[in-house]
Amino acid sequence: MAWLLLLAPLSSAFLVWVALRRHPRASQAVSITASLITFLTALGIALGRIEAPASLAWIDLPGLRVEIGMTLDALARLMLLMVTGVAFLIHVYSLGYMAEDPGRGRFFGELSLFLASMIGIIVATNFVMMYIFWELVGVSSYLLIGFWFEKNSAADAARKAFLANRVGDFGFLLGILTFWATCGTVAFHPEAARALAGNWLAPIVGLLLFCGCVGKSAQIPLHVWLPDAMEGPTPVSALIHAATMVAAGVYMLCRIFFVLELSPEALSVIAWTGGITALVAALIATQQNDIKRVLAYSTMSQLGYMVLAVGCSGTTAAMFHLTTHGFFKALLFMGAGSVLHALHHEQDIWRMGGVGRKMPLTFVTFGIGAAALSGIPGLAGFFSKEEILQVAARSQPVLFWMAAFTAALTAFYMTRITLVAFLGQPRTDVVRHAKESPLVMGLPLIVLAGLAIVAGYPFFGIVRYLGGQEAGENSLLVPAASLTAVILGLVAGAIGYGRASREPIAIPLFQRKFYFDEIYDWTVLKLQEESARLLSWIDQWIIGFVLVRGGAFVVSLGGEVLRLVQAGNLREYAFVFALGAGGLLFLLFGR
């Protein structure tokens, strides 16, 4: 039964790809059915009705045993439930959002492929299986970002995402190989990692594996692809680049925590990467005008929080925040998508204004999501962010203060986009004629808004499900600091943007995203071109001229010289042969 998790979306993707690409209605039906089946299966697993199936041996060699199996522990079950639930809602939402797109048959097929790969990552029992689905997720993300491939920017964004992910995945692969070489197995078993304990390789393996997370979860310095990935359809941004795929990196860190915990050095690098990403992304988010980009940077920032939590050994906190963030960030993206749908893909918040009055349902649900993300007490984000701050306060005080500041920034930029986009006077004609989105798009918003409210409360039981909080004292400083931060952020946002009709302050550093793209362009242009020129010179002159042609020249010269001997004269041959024979005689019998 549990295999349905993988088989349903896979066969849906296959069916759509083979037969139904040109039949949007049929592929919608197939894809949504598949995601519903997946969700119900995940529900059955979470309620304990469905057991984990026996593993199938895929590769069974001396020294390497790779199984295709299913890990269905609490971690996986929670993640499964969140992923399949959000995925199902987004499938439904896409019905409305993509209703007019002629290529939506392909879209639903790719969604199914993504769902299957994501589930593969979650249930993987070993590194190899995880790596396979990890790459599949990368591929489907590439396909979905580039869904509107006739737009150059979309095609470029897809390539950028793929390449950035490749860089991270290469490190991940090296990490897997090193782990296998040291421990002799690829399975996720804490006992298996015993060979690494105290080994100098432990931090290296940990950091190499972390590379995969840096790529997939858009941590600095490989984060550049995530904002560009917003070129994809909004449901894709909601599903892949907010709720699930980018969270896969964090999930992977939790899954392999048994390796990471062997090395405090690796953990602190991870914590710092997360903390810096959270802060930098939040700073950038405060100055972006594209509503989806703000959300994208916000996603990066929240992922930074989760990575920070893992780095502080708070896997439960990380998973808790991952889950609640999955709900409210999907909600925010779908709310934004609903606005874009109504405004004919106008993405600049300064060209909106007053949308709230035209689209009350979208406004209310988006507001709930924004409040949850900002960490306003009583909503899901408050509880999970609190957990992370607690963990950080316990082990990395500096990072705690950075994270608290980031929380203030979060509240600030969420206030900013809510105020600018939804309140005030309509600034363009498009807004004046906007209408509320259809019910298929509204329903998922309502469901997710409900989850964004309740998911954090203890009675909802996410933390209990994960096996309780990390041990340690909760200081009172943390809620105080985070509350202060949230209030400060809200107030600052309200003062700055309450009546603004254009940007009151401009900070180029943040607008230009800390110049990461420029730096990378420069690196590519200068360093890479120069080194390529050097290599080309070496290839042309050292390898091509000296080695290849030089070798050929020496051989042909030798041939020319030897040709003088080989004139074809029989008698010469006989003479030389006789000399050789005589010489041999002396050699053999010479006394």
């Binding site: 004139a567 074809g568 004269n569 029989l570 008698r571 006989a574 003479f575 006789a578």
Partner: protein, 102 residues
């Protein structure tokens, strides 16, 4: 002049072989070179027979028998080649036949 020993026969055989080889090197006509080749084969035969005689084994003579047969074959085929070469090049000079392909 005492009874000849194995050594005498071997020296004789070696000299005969050397003369044959010298002929192959010195002469320019393929036909004469063939004759010299025959001399060399015969020199080898002589040493085989001598060994056979002085070690009291008939086997050596059997080998000589085979050598004679093979030499006959070689002469037949070689001379046929020579004739067809001559037809093509109007010569049997070794110097003038320096290519494997015409």
């Amino acid at each position: 002049m005492g009874t000849p020993t194995l050594g005498h026969y071997l020296v004789l055989s070696g000299l005969l072989f050397a003369i044959g080889l010298a002929g192959v090197i010195a002469r320019r006509d393929l036909l004469i070179m063939y004759m010299c080749l025959e001399i060399m084969l015969n020199a080898a035969n002589l040493s085989l027979v001598a060994f056979s005689r002085f070690t009291q084994q008939v086997r050596g003579e059997v080998f000589v028998f085979f050598v004679i047969t093979v030499a006959a074959v070689e002469v037949a085929v070689g001379l046929a080649l020579l004739v067809s070469l001559y037809r093509m090049k109007r010569t049997t000079k070794a110097e003038e036949i320096t290519a494997l392909k015409f």
